[in-house]
């Protein structure tokens, strides 16, 4: 039998439904990264590229699926508010392989929790940080796909910066991210402004 099973195709009509949410279109995207980070970052700190085996612990990796270092990289870029455009050479970039809509779903790792809600925040951040003519979108002058492409591009550029930071750290110290505090301290530092706010909150009010 050489007839393909019907359900191996996506339901085109369903995908182009008029009331489809923008985030759903975004969710089908596979953000890209520069290939060289695969060896220098992704494979070093995550199970990226080792298949769906659930033995992160056995390999001593800090992170599970490849999207986890991607999220880290993205937030580093976001909080630093620094972007680096991806290489324009198509053979120097590749898609992560896991569409955004699955990021943070319960994975098979032991002692881990699912965090699908984080996707909404990433999306919100992209909307906040991307210049888009939303009026034109609502008027139908530009396609949702174009908007989503712009959003994904922002994401890729933030992550690209994040990866460069991570790569730099790993160059100095191969085991840098094996410390429990490495990522935490990095984020605490990047978002230090808020920390100062908390400290001010904590201090007793002046009597004057």
């Amino acid at each position: 039998m050489c007839i393909m099973a019907e359900n191996t195709f996506n339901d085109i009509e369903d995908l182009v439904k008029k009331d489809e949410k923008l985030i759903d279109i975004w969710g089908r995207r596979n953000p890209r990264f520069e290939k060289h980070y695969e060896q220098s970052v992704l494979r070093v700190i995550s199970d990226y590229g080792v298949g769906a085996s659930g033995n992160m612990g056995a390999k001593g990796k800090i992170l599970g699926a490849g999207y986890e270092p991607y999220i880290m990289a993205f937030f580093i870029g976001l909080y630093s508010d620094k972007k680096i455009p991806l290489s324009e050479e198509s053979d120097e970039v590749k898609g992560l392989g896991q569409p955004l809509q699955y990021w943070g779903n319960l994975d098979s790792k032991k002692n881990r929790k699912a965090y699908p809600n984080l996707r909404s925040y990433i999306f919100i951040a992209l909307v906040a940080k991307t210049e888009i003519d939303w009026i034109a979108l609502d008027k139908g002058d530009i396609e949702p796909a174009t908007v989503v492409t712009a959003l994904v591009k922002t994401m890729e550029e933030y992550a690209n910066y994040g990866f460069s930071v991570m790569e730099e750290k790993l160059k100095e110290d191969k085991g840098y991210f094996f410390s429990n505090r490495a990522f935490l301290d990095m984020f605490l530092q990047l978002t230090d402004k808020t920390a100062k706010d908390i400290e001010q909150e904590d201090s007793p009010e002046s009597i004057d």
């Binding site: 965090y115 909307v127 906040a128 939303w134 609502d138 808020t194 908390i198």
Partner: protein
């Protein structure tokens, strides 16, 4: 036996001829290390050997003498002891010849071992092995002691038996025993034969005999079991005695192990409470949103602007379209609706729930607020209808801004939680740091306990931890078994009494059944012989007990003298179930002292030896000297003075080689303490290395002896 003289010739450091004339009381031979004290002791030991071993050992030859020999020249190694024994003068002499060959080798020959008896002018030379008759090899264990550890003679397997045999009349009983058994057999046979004729009492006799057989069988079983149980009790007592020393260490070790386990559990517990997989929490608990406040603000600003802009442009479009109705509706409706009110659906929900979602206040149906919202909604609907009715195309074909606006509302609600993340992180880090501190403290405590454990194990005479722990478990177990064995012995002994009585009764009855018959005389004779045999048996036991109690009493007398101003305890001497003896110290509360200090141990064991010696001399058959090599090394000066004082008053020949009475001079030389020596009542020799000597060349060493007193 009194030793009169000891002669050493070319025996190791004793070069050429050396003679010690001895008194029948205390004889001291004082020398420093390497001066020849132990050589003196060993010369006597060599002389006393009658087993033919170690005859001509070249190591015994004086190095100095052998080195100065010319080729083919010879000399003798000779040790001789003159002594008086049972009124006779004798000389025990052992010697061999050593000759230097032309190539400088030393060869030995002409071994002689002789016992010379002098009777007036007559000299009778006998084989040296006959010395065993004057001093048996077993008895030598009771007279020669090297150091302080040799003194515990009673622990020797057959020492007790030897002691009892030598010093009590027990041995004499054995011949009587044999005879009585023989006589009893004959008498019983005669009785049985006579009773066979007694037809009248045949049944009764038969039954009594059966009873007698039965009782005898039972008694023999009981005796056997008593013996077994006695052995068992002795065995467990021995085990307990060994363990006793380590009992305290065992207890300490168990306590330490318990504390270690406790700390280890606490450590595990504290570590398990440490939650610091922060990288994981960044994602799983979305701590990564810790800086999202700014992004959220930016988003809200953008959304606000877009909403306004979207409405503004739509309104403008409608105005431009010139539709009056639509304009009016737009003016009334849209412009007065707050920009962020999303639309018809939410308005309908608010009316339904009678609540304003934006200010949070109730708006009961019929109230002004509710009516206001209701009117607005109606106007809005009407305006839309108006628009539709007028056939104007909608300005927007999509509603994506609405989608992203809805997110803003929810994001706003979550913002409070997002700003809390930093506090949560801070608390979590503090919490974990406290736990780390706790773990560090626990580990410090653990370290202390491990040190304690090491110290305990280092001081337990090579016992391993497992052995110590096993010992502890064994103590109660063995104690139990020992007590059970002893209880059983008590019970068996009571049973034995009963059965003995039964047996006696049956034997008596048997003898009575024959009364008035021809068998009567035989029966009575058998009974009397039986009773005599029993009396002998009891007498033997009594005799043994008397001897042990006499030794015990005497020992305590000596102990009193040797430890005048010191703790001494009470010496007890017992015969153990297996026939071995044991001397030990007891506190006044009848508790056994297991680990007396060395000086105390030496004095109580010596007291026992003196007591044995004293008793033997009182019996006037075997007066034996005592020869000690360095018996007082654990004594203080004061104790030593007391000790020698007591010994000098003993009516007993004692020969002691010692380095007591010597002290170091200012220039490293050794000085004899003449004051102390003068207080000694007895004969004193000093032995020294002849000066000068080369401390690298044995051939220059020579012991010189000088009599001081």
């Amino acid at each position: 036996m009194i030793i009169k003289k000891i002669e050493l010739q070319n025996f190791r450091s004793y070069y050429r001829d050396n003679t010690f004339d001895l008194t029948d009381r205390l004889n001291l031979i004082i020398g420093s290390n390497g001066d020849g004290k132990t050589t003196f002791y060993e010369a006597i030991y060599w002389l006393f050997r009658t087993d033919g071993t170690n005859k001509m050992d070249t190591k015994l030859i004086s190095k100095k003498r052998s080195e100065e020999l010319m080729p083919s020249e010879s000399d003798d190694v000779r040790v001789a002891m003159s002594y008086e024994h049972k009124g006779k003068l004798k000389t025990l002499e052992k010697s061999f010849r050593f000759t230097k060959s032309f190539d400088g080798e030393i060869g030995t020959s002409n071994y002689t071992f002789s016992l010379v008896e002098t009777n007036g002018i007559e000299r009778i030379v006998k084989d040296g092995v006959l010395f065993d008759k004057d001093l048996s090899p077993e008895m030598r264990k009771f007279i020669m002691f090297k150091g302080e550890t040799d003194l515990d003679v009673l622990q020797n397997t057959n020492a007790m038996k030897l002691l009892i045999d030598s010093f009590s009349d027990v041995r004499d009983f054995d011949a009587y025993f044999d005879f009585m058994q023989y006589a009893l057999d004959l008498a019983e046979k005669a009785r049985d034969n006579a009773q066979k004729l007694d037809r009248k009492n045949a049944d009764k006799i038969k039954q009594l005999k059966r009873t007698i057989e039965q009782e005898k069988g039972l008694l023999s079983d009981i005796d056997r079991e008593i013996k077994d149980k006695e052995n068992e009790a002795v065995n467990f007592e021995g085990l307990l005695k060994n363990i006793e020393k380590s009992q305290e260490a065992s207890k300490l070790l168990i306590a330490v192990n318990r504390r270690i386990e406790n700390f280890q559990n606490k450590r595990i517990e504290a570590i398990s409470r440490i939650k610091e997989e922060y990288t994981k929490y960044l994602l799983d608990d979305m701590w990564i949103l810790m800086g999202f406040g700014d992004v959220a603000d930016e988003y809200a600003t953008k959304i606000n602007f877009l909403m306004h802009e979207r409405r503004r442009q739509e309104n403008q479009y409608l105005v431009t379209a010139g539709v009056e109705k639509a304009i009016k509706a737009a003016e009334r409706g849209f412009t007065s609706l707050p920009a962020h009110i999303p639309g018809q659906k939410i308005m309908e929900d608010m009316l339904k729930q009678e609540k304003c979602f934006f200010c949070g206040q109730d708006a009961k149906k019929g109230s002004d607020a509710w009516s206001f919202m209701h009117d607005r909604l109606e106007e809005y609907k009407a305006s839309l209808e108006g628009n539709a009715n007028e056939g104007i195309d909608p300005y927007y074909s999509n509603n994506y801004i609405d989608e992203i606006q809805k997110r803003d509302t929810i994001l706003n609600d979550n913002l409070a939680d997002i700003t809390k993340i930093r506090r949560v992180i801070k608390e979590s880090i503090n919490f974990n740091n406290r736990l780390h501190d706790d773990v560090k403290k626990i580990e410090a405590n653990l370290e202390i306990e491990f040190e304690r454990k090491k110290r305990i194990l280092a001081q337990t005479d090579g016992l391993t931890e497992e052995q110590l722990l096993a010992n502890y478990e064994n103590i109660s177990n063995w104690m139990d078994k020992k007590n059970r064995a002893e209880n059983r012995i008590d019970m068996l002994k009571r049973q034995r009494e009963q059965h003995r009585a039964n047996l006696e009764e049956a034997q008596l009855a048997l003898s009575k059944t024959s009364e008035g018959t021809a068998a009567a005389m035989y029966a009575r004779t058998a009974l009397i012989i039986q009773q005599i045999a029993n009396a002998f048996s009891n007498a033997k036991e009594e005799n043994k007990k008397r001897l042990l109690s006499a030794i015990e009493d005497k020992s305590n007398e000596f102990m009193e003298k040797l430890n005048t101003n010191d703790f001494k305890g009470t010496i007890r001497i017992i015969e153990k179930q297996n026939g071995q003896g044991e001397a030990f110290l007891m506190n006044n509360d009848s508790v056994r002292i297991f680990n007396p200090n060395t000086a105390l141990k030496t004095t109580y064991l010596m007291s026992v030896l003196f007591a044995i010696g004293k008793l033997s001399s009182e019996r006037d058959n075997t007066v034996l000297p005592l020869i000690f090599d360095a018996p007082t090394s654990s004594f203080t000066d004061a104790k030593e003075n007391e000790f020698f004082n007591v010994i000098s008053k003993l009516e007993k020949q004692v020969i002691i080689v010692t380095k007591s009475f010597l002290r170091d001079g200012n220039n490293g030389e050794v000085i004899l303490d003449s004051n102390r020596v003068n207080k000694i009542n007895g004969c004193v020799y000093q032995i020294e290395k002849k000066r000068p000597f080369d401390d690298k060349k044995l051939g220059t060493i020579q012991t010189v002896i000088s009599r001081i007193k």
